[in-house]
């Protein structure tokens, strides 16, 4: 059975409608498919995603303003739907959010 391009774009649209927000945290446990939430979410970082679509593709943009989580050391990022269902998570070596910077995470997802 082959999934058609129209079918994949339907999945894209359903996913795009469902995606809601991103969040940063300080958990360091490696991402695993059994994850259901960030390991340790950081207050003030749960913020709406801005999405755009192309053929079989979604780009989800998350922006952390300079006024949020100032001075926090962050090590994980996740994206969620409106019911706080974790869609994807990854970890990274620690970064400290300076009050002089905005952070932008742009996640490009391709459905194939």
């Amino acid at each position: 059975m082959v999934f058609s391009n129209a079918g994949k774009n339907r999945i894209r649209d359903l996913l795009n409608t469902d995606l809601s927000h991103g969040e940063l945290g300080s958990g360091t446990t490696a991402a695993n498919a059994t994850n259901t939430d960030l390991v340790s979410a950081t207050a003030g970082t749960s913020l709406a995603l801005s999405t755009q679509t192309a053929d079989k593709q979604i780009i989800a943009d998350y922006s952390l303003p300079s006024t949020a989580a100032q001075g926090s050391t962050l090590t994980e990022f996740g994206i969620f739907n409106g019911s706080d269902l974790l869609f994807a998570r990854f970890t990274f070596s620690s970064l400290t959010h300076s009050s002089t910077d905005e952070w932008q995470f742009s996640t490009r997802m391709f459905i194939n």
């Binding site: 059975m1 006024t67 990274f92 002089t100």
Partner: protein, 220 residues
């Protein structure tokens, strides 16, 4: 999906012979579920002199010497520099589907990148497709493999290079063969160059089973 029945003949009682203990066999062909591939880029934007509501320094009207120095004024604030500090590609590696220019280095790319159907890169003689960072800041990368299916390439004379230090040094690679870097770094990029006699060579999405003509897998 095909269903193969081990025995589907009707036989009379005296033709049955020994008991047939063969189970029904179900064979599933090419029934792969759609998969999501992803890459995330983190950019830091220096807020400079921009007025930021609620900001302890840049949120005070009329006070000079804000972050980045200078008067902070509503509507005329000046954002500082922006830099990509991390790029994360999933365990399946980086995949370029040519739907946009997010990971194309448009400054150094001279080939034509077509991001509408048919999604393709069109090379004429000596033209180059060069990527931005496809993995950055997550530890040194020791080996990488550049995959492009033969069906995705029309024409010949393309050569392939990878850089693990942000383009400072390019190392020649063969398609679909793992390359061990001689340089050290954590900023992975690829470059495809057309030969001197190339004409209308394409790397394209054929949408016949795969939609991402360029894949780059790596090992730290």
């Amino acid at each position: 999906m095909a269903v193969e029945l081990a025995r589907d003949l009707v036989r009379t009682q005296d033709q049955l012979g020994p008991r047939d203990s063969t189970n029904l066999v179900f064979k599933l062909f090419n029934d792969q579920m759609p998969t999501v591939f992803w890459t995330t880029t983190k950019v830091e934007q220096d807020i400079g002199n921009a007025f930021v509501v609620g900001h302890a320094t840049n949120g005070v009207i009329g006070v000079a010497n804000g972050v980045g120095s200078g008067q902070i004024t509503i509507g005329t604030g000046d954002l500082g520099s922006s830099s990509t500090t991390r790029v994360f590609s999933g365990a399946t590696g980086f995949k370029e589907a040519l739907r946009d220019n997010s990971y194309i280095d448009t400054v150094n790319t001279t080939a034509s990148v077509v991001t509408s159907s048919p999604y393709q890169v069109l090379f004429d003689a000596t033209e180059v497709l060069q990527s931005k960072s496809v993995e950055l800041g997550n530890g040194n990368i020791s080996r990488a493999t550049l995959y492009i299916p033969s069906e995705a390439i029309s024409g010949t004379s393309l050569t392939y290079q990878l850089s693990v230090n942000g383009g400072s040094n390019w190392e020649s690679v063969s398609l679909n063969q793992e390359h061990t870097f001689t340089n050290t770094g954590d900023d992975l990029r690829y470059k495809i160059t057309a030969g001197a006699t190339a004409s209308s060579v394409t790397v394209r999405d054929t949408s016949t089973g795969y939609d991402y003509p360029i894949t780059l897998k790596f090992t730290r």
